[in-house]
């Protein structure tokens, strides 16, 4: 599958949006094998007892989802660095939207820097970050 050409990219170019599946069923498939099967990730009621609005998507999975967005866009790329800041929880069984946009190009090593965000149904930023991607 052909990916984007470094030479054709410009600052401001948007990567294809991605709507990840964060249903409880999918989250349980992740947290079991990764040893993170705590109630806050797998049980809405247990999460509420901890003061959360509901079960939350593990941060490490959010970072992985954002990395997946990059690789869907550029399958042959190498993510040199990815950095996420968690502003608010992504809720299990919600419908988040992942977006990314090119914010810088480095001709010397043919890398691009991208912003990454996960927003909720209201368009509120839950997770944001950046990545440097070698194309």
């Amino acid at each position: 599958m052909a990916g984007p050409s470094f030479d054709d990219l410009e600052v401001g170019d948007e990567l294809p949006e991605f709507k990840p599946d964060v249903s409880m069923e999918r989250i349980r498939l992740f947290v079991g094998p990764s040893g993170m099967a705590a109630g806050r990730f797998t049980d809405h009621e247990a999460a509420r007892k901890e003061g959360l609005p509901g079960a939350i998507v593990p941060g490490i999975l959010s970072a992985g989802i954002l990395a997946g967005l990059i690789h869907r866009w550029a399958p042959g790329s190498r993510i040199r660095q990815i950095d996420t800041v968690f502003r608010a929880p992504v809720l299990v069984d919600s419908h988040p939207l992942c977006r990314s946009v090119v914010t810088d190009k480095d001709e010397s090593d043919r890398t691009v820097e991208v912003d990454l965000t996960i927003t909720n149904e209201q368009g509120e930023t839950r997770v944001m970050g950046t990545a440097r991607v070698e194309l």
């Binding site: 410009e10 600052v11 401001g12 950095d83 800041v85 502003r87 608010a88 946009v101 914010t103 810088d104 820097e113 912003d115 965000t117 209201q122 368009g123 509120e124 930023t125 944001m128 970050g129 950046t130």
Partner: protein, 208 residues
């Protein structure tokens, strides 16, 4: 003149944006602002010199700070040597009354930001302990607001007669220019900004 009054660069612990990339983004995406203020968390970045970027991109870049008080986070504009010696910018529990009073004494101005936000905004603190003397301006539009946070900030402003500013609270490049403040006058420096804020003739604007 439209200035985005609340932004963070990689100088802030949670900032991920280089200042040059903010400039590049503003020009490339034709973001309708004439400049922005860098309000790094718990510090004043006296060392960085952005004049070359200003000249290259034709964008005004000013510097302020975002400090942390017992009433939540507060933007400080017009930071100078006197103010840097008036209180410790790195503290997490500065008394808001002190920040407001010392800013005024030193020729700066303090503006509580994202007042509607839980814990780090002043709305809940005002409800619990009452308003703080000397506050005259608050941030009523914040680009990172969630739920009713901006609405709550505007209600607080209306109740106490505060003027309102807007700022993006950008931490990544693509978030700059979500909210800003429109001034009827030209601003060229931090001193101009303080004077314009004191005049009270401005409005918060949003493109989100």
């Amino acid at each position: 003149m439209i200035l985005d009054l609340h932004n963070h660069s990689i100088k802030s612990d949670d900032g991920r944006a280089k200042v040059e990339n903010y400039c590049q983004w503003i020009r490339r995406r034709e973001v309708p602002i004439d400049g922005f203020v860098l309000t790094e968390h718990r510090q004043f970045d006296a060392d960085s010199d952005y004049r070359a970027l200003e000249d290259s991109f034709g964008i005004l870049i000013l510097k302020g700070s975002e400090v942390e008080t017992d009433y939540g986070h507060v933007l400080v504009f017009g930071v100078n040597e006197d103010l840097l010696h008036a209180f410790d910018f790195t503290r997490l529990d500065l008394p808001l009354a002190t920040v407001v009073r010392e800013s005024e004494r030193c020729g700066a101005i303090a503006v509580p930001c994202h007042p509607g936000r839980t814990r780090v905004g002043m709305c809940a603190h005002v409800e619990e302990r009452g308003p703080v003397e000397g506050v005259g301006i608050i941030e009523v539009l914040n680009g990172g607001s969630r739920g009713t946070e901006d609405h709550d900030a505007q209600a607080l402003a209306g109740k106490h007669g505060y003027a309102g500013i807007g700022g993006s609270d950008a931490h990544i490049v693509s978030h700059i220019g979500r909210c800003a403040t429109r001034f009827p006058r030209r601003i060229k420096s931090e001193e101009d900004l303080v004077a314009a804020l004191r005049e009270g003739k401005y409005e918060a604007v949003s493109w989100t």
